[in-house]
Assembly symmetry: D2
């Protein structure tokens, strides 16, 4: 599956349930933010070292995958409703970051 | 560009700047959360209707694209550091959602 | 109870459970952010008008009060661990806002 | 100043600028979330140990105080618009937490 396949599948999912009326950009930004909050809660008491091993525990692994999925779903849906190509926007930003933070300054 | 190309480019970007030591899952979750906060701020005073037209204003458009890009970059980088395939996780979640919310219940 | 009483009670609560070691500013910022995410989720699909009546529903009322309480608890605890007086900081900020946004410009 | 003084001052501030129409609970939750995002960004690359010393640096100190103030302002304003007493809600929650996490289990 590509990100574009996911985008299309989410659009069909919303249409089949008549949920488009709830999917304003404002609402979807809140939904994205709520899911990132749940993801944050999974990491809040971990040391940085523990956070790197979070997937070793099966229950934590399932929870992290679930929240990462939810964040991906709402981000993809939000971009679709706005008519934004996420990969294009991300590529343009990383191009700007290459200029702002030239790698040779960090050698 | 695919999501996997973006993942690879971000890994090289971090490696070239010796930033991997900062990129613990805990830190990246915070960075993701901070960017979602900036995205949220762009929508906070808009009505739902205004939020649907936010890209019509050139300055707002640039700001929204920039924040969506940052969210995408940190989400992709976080998943890579954890070793999670975002599209696979998203697909598994939407499969579960199809069961939890059968479309015919919403006819 | 005053905010300072709450601050003291939370410090005793943490000390009695030996939780101070978890209460770094970084971790408490994440806990605060996670609770704000849960609060956000309660409002995400509501229209602005519905959001103004959210407390009319008993189950929503209990959930909103619970999340507002959690946000208050973590914000108070975070400020205490940092040694910041929240009311003093808030007063200084509102003083600055009075200068930045003079009321007569809005008559 | 007490939290109730702050609440009153914020209500007057909004009224004097005719900003009440923007201050729906939904919008204020987003504003709160946006400010918590900015606070999070200040801590994202710090180790837990560095986060405990963040106020030692004057520029970081000013930024942290400013964000903590903004979070406090929006949380207070949100509670006021909803008609919730934050200290009462917080006290009720800490009472419940005392039962859920008895201190002697942590001796």
């Amino acid at each position: 599956m590509t990100l574009d396949d996911l985008r299309r599948r989410l659009a069909e999912f919303a249409a089949a349930r008549d949920w488009q009326r709830f999917h304003t950009p404002k609402n979807l930004v809140m939904a994205l933010s709520g899911e990132v909050g749940e993801l944050t809660a999974l990491f809040q008491w971990l040391t940085p070292e523990e956070s790197a091993r979070i997937l070793d525990d099966p229950a934590s692994r399932a929870a992290v995958l679930d929240e990462l999925a939810d964040v991906t779903l709402y981000l993809t849906r939000l971009a679709d409703v706005l008519g934004v190509d996420l990969l294009e926007a991300a590529q343009a930003k990383i191009d700007r970051n290459e200029s702002r933070f030239p790698a040779d300054r960090f050698d």
